[in-house]
Amino acid sequence: MSPIDREAHLNRWRGKPLAEKLTLTLGMLLLTMVLKPWPGAALVAVVMTAAALFGARVSPKLWLACAAAPLGFLAVGAVSVAFRVDLHGVGLAPGGLAAAGALAARSGAGVACLLFLALTTPASDMLAGARKIGVPTEITELALLMYRFLFILADAALAMDAAQAARLGHATKARRLRSLGLLAANLLPRALDRARRLELGLAARGWHGDMRVLSDRLGPTARGMALVASVLGATALFGVLA
């Protein structure tokens, strides 16, 4: 269903402490926003891409596939910043190219940070971390249950979609829309039915709305945090001085 989730579970840095990966990502995101786009944000993009591809050994093909959609959005956004529209028509905005370039550097760096986190850390790890820093249990518990349901429902949806395609359900646009409507309408009762069965099973085991699981993840090490801090510091220093 989600190749990103599979990679997050299988990459080389899967076992690295969450705090280290999260500090690196959020620190770099902050640097992207406060440093000058050139060379600060560009450097962040290089460092984070290298961390994902060489450090965590994420598949470059998957990385590119994930980056494609956001970069499409960026292309549209950058074009609208570079050009201006007035009563005389469309023209190049004054300073538009520079603004578009700065925007591209910032957003590119942001995407590199997001992809690093998404491709090295499973969402379930992050939710466990969220509970530790004091996000209400009701919310994290709901999110964890949702994460659990995602893959089951996605499998069902893909099977329904394939069945519809095999029966010419995608032949015309009108049929496609109808097929999608039927799929959604069949999926929702199934989802609720599954929820009810799961709830019955849990209630039979004395569930009170709190699922406690043992985590084998290690806490952050002094060495790892020092390494992260030095990478962040070096990037910030370079961005300020250059």
Partner: protein, 222 residues
């Protein structure tokens, strides 16, 4: 339309987080109350949230030939009510960023504001108003979904225009630019989503044993 990671300047990103926070917290408080009274509602809500995510990962045909995905904003607002949608929408948007690389972490506040707050409230208002005027259910559902969609995109266009005003014509010029680009692609999508939501609601209400289940769910979620 999700705003991508890193697209908004730091002040705007923080500002939209601040704007969204009260709605999400209020939704969280009402969610907590529901869950304390009925812990079993948790599984229904989780299944519905997962359903919204899966729906958003499917492709929807559009009139212009471009393909996009349904947002589920209208459906969710009509069935669950807008208050709970703020929390469910936030979790769904977070998963979209982490599992599909769609949207972003720094732009989460802005995306929550357009997709989990403005869209659902607009859908809900249209739904209530049309039903109050005695419009047929199908018509009310269509306009609730289509206008909820459009208000989401309009909000995104405003957010982008505020962040990147035109050098000469200012905010208004930027709004025309971003709005123009969105109108071409999103107007047909809004109509397609409206039609889709009608098909879904028709099929749902056609399942006799399950129609009341939806009503029960909607009741407990509000």
């Amino acid at each position: 339309m999700h705003i991508m990671e890193g697209f908004l300047p730091v002040g705007h990103a923080a500002g939209w987080f601040a704007a969204s926070a009260p709605f999400v917290v209020a939704g969280g408080v009402s969610l907590r109350r529901i869950l304390r009274e009925r812990p079993e509602a948790r599984l229904n809500l989780a299944a519905s949230g997962a359903f919204a995510f899966v729906l958003s990962a499917l492709k929807m045909p559009s009139v212009t030939g471009s393909c996009s995905h349904p947002t589920g904003v209208g459906l969710g607002a009509v069935v669950f009510g807008p208050a709970v949608m703020a929390v469910l929408g936030t979790i769904v948007l977070l998963f979209q960023a982490l599992l599909l690389a769609h949207g972003g972490l720094t732009t989460l506040g802005a995306n929550v504001f357009s997709m989990a707050i403005v869209g659902p409230w607009a859908s809900y208002a249209v739904w209530k108003a049309l039903r109050g005027l005695g419009a047929p259910i199908a018509l009310a559902v269509f306009f609730a979904a289509a206008l909820g969609d459009l208000s989401t995109y309009a909000t995104t266009a405003v957010q982008l225009a505020l962040a990147y005003p035109d050098a000469e014509t200012g905010y208004a010029g930027a709004l025309v630019k971003f709005g123009g680009i969105f109108a071409v692609t999103q107007l047909p999508l809004a109509i397609a989503e409206g039609l889709l939501t009608v098909v879904v609601m028709n099929a749902l209400s056609g399942r006799a044993g399950h129609a009341d289940e939806i009503a029960v769910l909607a009741g407990e979620a509000r």
